[in-house]
Subunit: 373 residues, 2 copies
């Protein structure tokens, strides 16, 4: 990707509201650079062009990069090697860029992730189940993704942290704006070992409609969404609906029929085909093994953009080639042959497996390490 | 049905163990009279012939009828007009005869019935949900069928009784042997307004294997089975499995995933396709309306042998013809035309509807009122 394309995507991330499909379709048709130029020259013809134009002053890519450095965040643009490609399943509603803060690499940890979401007004039952289960998921090597909210979200992050697992918090506000404020400490702890991510620029507060658009990111990033307590019509069910629309697995945890906080879960199971999860193993069974061997299983379309990613399961040869990648940028086959000290056939075969597993990305005759910028 | 066939069925009900499919298949092939003769003459060739022969002394139909009179019970044999024909769905495992005690007519009340079953070691949660729901089912005109056991069964009967509803208790022991003994009063109250029924002759105690065979009767009698609390491997799940095998609806009530008593319900939903029921309306929706209008819906094979039975929904003409039936025995078309004072075409059309609705039974050119002996 050219630098100007990345700059244009950063600019667009400031102009459009999250999930704006009209702008997304325009970008798909004309590309990000031409889209920004059309908005600047007032020739885009987009319905919201005036609003975009008004925001141009806030959408300077250079200033955005500098701000990122100041707050210790990273800016990842669509198409970058660190981009979580499963977000592309969102089509025209996919984000243009993500602001990321934290110790872990988003793309890598998201490849082995599940979403755990639920009611803010949760019960002790829901919170205790959530915390226990998320610790189990973390123990099994899975990344727990949630939204940092009160109730079930917080219990999900805490359960993963208690098991020293990686957890990802997708904020509706900018990554430097803790929302809710009471979770400032929790969000900081998440960043210490995991990732805090947002498609809204730093400094932006959480707005009501952004919670719904944020939920689609949670659904798209992960291989499955587990709902633990939800009232019948709620933001949580919107995450579940988004996950279903993306052909992700949706599981719901039952509870007493006398608890309104379980009514949304029962509804998801009864009316929408969510899988009933009565123990963490029910969830792990649906997620499938954390193993590249699963790749040979073939054609489960639900997983096509979310390959497994366990370096533990790679062969010595594959690990050796992965290690041979340069710390930045692309590598050619020849370069890898030289650096790994293996034959071209061996390297090519291993690259096939590494590509399928999401460890590396091919572009033309070059390969890039997915975990390196 | 001839008297000798009824006598033979009564005899067979004393000889075979409930649900004996080998004996059932023999009876299907040779008829009840020839089967009894073959057993008496030692020529049946049945594997258990010696056991059947040994029981012949206890299997005197006349003595059985007299005992029934003494204890105030009724003896209904397969094929009688008061026989609940949905039991024939059990095929070779269908009972030969039923002992019935109580104020209500089994065939009539079973036509609008559902089974509510569950764990003996139930929790307060399960019992209170069960009692509430069964009162609602009774209020809606449905007969609650259960097994009279501790826990959920007892709560089901009590809930129906509290709403002054009809409830049916299917015992594994004879109808004059209250099991468990502590439920003697409850079982007597069930008989006061509903029905206590058994396929085992009076005086017989409950034996372990008879609970499982009893469960098939509960499943077959009813239009749907609702499971409220069950451990994973239990008698309750055997009732659910029997209901599924008979293409009856099976619903299960979720509960806390931390409760072992809900684990069987969650398993039924997750693994066996039981419908999640979170409120009594979920169940009523599956049962369908208590209305003959439902008959015109056509071809739901699950319901073919369990027609709806609401005299309230009959037309004035149909009610008039139903009233014209003699108090006992069959009626010809001519007889009904005379007694109802309606034209033969009208009577014939109404008889079609009444037959479809389970109000009357056709045999040859005669009709019998399903609610009269």
């Amino acid at each position: 990707m050219t630098e100007s394309a990345a700059d244009a995507l950063i600019c667009l991330a400031h102009l459009g509201e999250p999930g704006d499909q009209v702008l997304g379709a325009y970008v798909r048709k004309h590309g990000p650079v031409a889209t920004v130029e059309a908005i600047k020259s007032g020739k885009s013809g987009l319905r919201d062009a005036a609003g975009f134009y008004a925001r141009l002053g806030l959408a300077d890519p250079q200033a955005a990069r500098e701000k990122c450095q100041r707050i210790g965040a990273q800016l990842i643009t669509r198409g970058a090697t660190t981009w979580p490609t499963q977000l592309d399943d969102l089509g025209d509603a996919a984000p243009f860029a993500l602001w990321v803060q934290g110790a872990a690499g988003l793309r890598l940890v998201a490849l082995r992730s599940l979403a755990v979401v639920g009611a803010r007004a949760s019960t002790n039952y829901g919170e205790s189940v959530c915390r226990d289960w998320c610790a189990t998921f973390a123990d099994a090597g899975w990344t727990v993704v949630s939204g940092g909210a009160y109730g079930i979200d917080a219990a999900a992050h805490r359960g993963a942290l208690e098991a020293s697992g990686v957890t990802v918090c997708v904020l509706a506000s900018g990554v430097d704006v803790a929302y809710p404020r009471a979770h400032e400490g929790l969000i900081a702890r998440i960043a210490d070992s995991g990732v805090v991510v947002s498609e809204s620029p730093p400094g932006q507060g959480a707005r009501r409609h952004r919670f719904l658009s944020r939920n689609r990111i949670i659904a798209a990033l992960t291989r499955a969404t587990v709902v633990i307590e939800a009232s019948v019509r709620s933001g949580t069910t919107s995450t579940a609906n988004a996950a279903m629309a993306l052909n992700r697995h949706v599981l719901a945890v039952p509870g007493p029929v006398t608890s309104p906080m379980s009514a949304g879960c029962h509804n998801l199971i009864r009316e929408q085909g969510a899988i009933l999860a009565s123990c963490p193993e029910d969830v792990l069974e649906v997620l499938g093994p954390l193993s590249v061997t699963a790749l040979s299983r073939g054609t489960d379309s639900r997983l096509w953009s979310i390959p497994h990613l366990p370096t533990d399961d790679l062969s010595a040869r594959e690990k050796r080639i992965l290690d041979a990648f340069p710390s930045r940028g692309e590598a050619s086959l020849n370069q890898l042959v030289v650096d790994a000290g293996l034959g071209p056939m061996d390297v090519a075969a291993a690259l096939g497996i590494l590509t399928a597993g999401g460890f590396v990305q091919a572009s033309g005759s070059k390969w890039t390490h997915a975990g390196r910028a």
